[in-house]
Symmetry: none
Subunit: 247 residues, 2 copies
């Protein structure tokens, strides 16, 4: 049994997430609900801090409470807790940007991000969704379970969009225990990632490094010492989560 008004409140938030700022009438039209209904939902969401109302125009946009609960979600996540220390360690050892991802809704959701340890301008990617077929983190996440054949978007000229070849690549990933991505999502950038297991020996996340091609690869193959570092980090976190790994 689903509660209608909660569903509708969520639908409003999703609409606001798409567009930047919407009014009662626009939402009423988009969701095909009476203006009074929308207004009631919006004003309770406003009281709770889930949306904010522009003082001038009266229009609504997303509110701060979502950000607070969003970061709270990160705190709750057990994988993230365990990964914090190891991610720092990996960033120091590899001198690369480190990211930790989980599988959520057909994407790789970034739940932790450590900047490359130089002082360059970088942006926190926590909360971003990455495609599964064109990132090392994504491949590491789904290598065990496999991927349903579908039409994959082409992001660069190197993006693998053929389901058979993708499956072959996932099998290689499964066998060697780590995943590679070379300019498949963004030109000039590459990544190496490995899966993280829980106590049920199931993949619950992945950790990986990313950076410029020339820093990670030699002759289209990742530097061996970097692969070892990633694997070591992933195995360490897996053990902390209760996984019993072979070897």
């Amino acid at each position: 049994m689903s509660i209608q008004s909660v569903q509708r409140a969520v639908a409003i938030l999703r609409c606001l997430s798409g567009s930047r700022r919407l009014g009662v009438s626009e939402l009423s039209e988009q969701l095909e609900l009476a203006k009074g209904t929308i207004h009631g939902l919006l004003s309770t969401l406003r009281d709770e801090g889930f949306v904010e109302q522009d003082a001038d125009t009266g229009k609504y946009q997303l509110g701060h409470a979502l950000l607070e609960l969003g970061t709270s979600y990160l705190d709750v996540n057990e994988l993230r807790q365990r990964a914090l220390a190891r991610a720092d360690w990996l960033a120091q050892k590899s001198q690369c940007s480190v990211r930790v991802a989980v599988l959520r809704g057909g994407n790789a959701l970034i739940i932790h991000h450590v900047f490359r340890p130089d002082n360059s301008l970088q942006i926190l990617e926590v909360g971003s969704n990455l495609p599964l077929h064109a990132t090392a983190l994504g491949k590491a996440l789904v290598a065990q379970a496999g991927l349903e054949p579908r039409v994959w978007p082409r992001l660069t000229k190197n993006t693998q969009t053929d389901n058979a070849k993708l499956e072959a690549e996932l099998q290689l990933t499964r066998e060697q225990g780590w995943a590679l991505e070379a300019e498949e999502a963004v030109l000039t950038e590459a990544g190496v990632a490995a899966p993280i297991f829980d106590r049920k020996q199931e993949v619950i996340g992945s950790i990986g490094i990313s950076g410029a091609v020339r820093e990670l690869l030699i002759d289209d193959a990742p530097k061996a010492e970097l692969v070892q570092l990633v694997l070591e980090a992933a195995r360490h976190i897996s053990r902390e989560l209760g996984a019993r790994l072979l070897g």
Copy 2:
């Protein structure tokens, strides 16, 4: 008027935000509500991705949708916030009026406006809607996604109303990375604009300069240094928003 079930759903999220993981009974006790009520709310929240249920224990914790909406909240304010400084910079460098727009409801909505730095009488255009087919800001907004063929209003004798020619112009915009408008909306006025990307590599806005034809154009082409300034401003804001640009 406040909607009870939404308030209760939020209360559940707040409880879960405090504790790490809670069950139906615990929540029922804390919020003094029947277990069935809590269960109904929780299962709709689960379907929406706002909470996740542990497969083993059946207990609930916060879900990934909160993180996604939370980062979405950041994006809403970030575009305007990041654009503020760069818009001033662009106005100083170009000595032109600068405007920042987002796509909303089939129009280019102005969300920021810096006057031409010359003390002349000008009108604040924030909040006004510009047509997509006859403005540089509009073309920059829709060049990536394309435009549905429709009947466009003719604003001046130079307004492009032919769908095929408009599409060709958008393709040119896409290829060169910036858009031009010359007396298509208002006679004697021209504009140059470039798209702003977010971390999903999607166009979330555009920034551009506008002014008299004789100030912006030479022989029907925009001055090269002005185009470079606009591109530099747009790229700078995009990078600050997390976009990873090619080249």
